[in-house]
Subunit: 119 residues, 2 copies
Amino acid sequence: MTRLFLRLFLDGLMLGPGKIELLEHIRDLGSIAAAGRAMGMSYKRAWSLVEEMNAGLADPVVTSARGGAGGGGAQVTETGEAIIRHYHGLMQKAYGAGAEDIAALEALLAPQDDMVGGK
Amino acid sequence: MTRLFLRLFLDGLMLGPGKIELLEHIRDLGSIAAAGRAMGMSYKRAWSLVEEMNAGLADPVVTSARGGAGGGGAQVTETGEAIIRHYHGLMQKAYGAGAEDIAALEALLAPQDDMVGGK
């Protein structure tokens, strides 16, 4: 099964699967630290990716409250949700519109040994 | 202007812009060494990328004659041409079908200073 890896070089911001997955984890876990851990990423690294997105966009993708009861938390903003949605939209459309080209490329592949043996 | 970076993980073969560009240079220059040089790549590296494609596909992407008058040369096969064509086809379709999502992402970007000054 063919998978696509898609990265966008927007004016002043690079968006790829890593940042999108990070946003999704923040949305689900309510915490940048927990989202980073879920991806095997340091808190510092996760923060810097969020900061990178915030710097490139007119509005932040994540709002966070530091400290306080429970140690603060993080929420994905409407802009963050839009980023997630349009990235996935683009991916789905690439798979859909590109289905014939992908199938044509797959048809050129070498036969896979592990599918020939029948075991 | 937004650019897309697209890589395909096919069964047993990874295809991205580097391999496609290399094939195009081989087609235009008739030589793997010259194609590598055009991309600032060693002969060894260029060869290994060609070998990787040949190994993953049912038919080779490049045929080469070593030695002989002129030191041999390389030709992109029909399979190689198909790889180039369908990769670009997929890219064009991703840009086309994804235009709305790309525009929506662009609309979220921070204003660029160098476009505000008017100079």
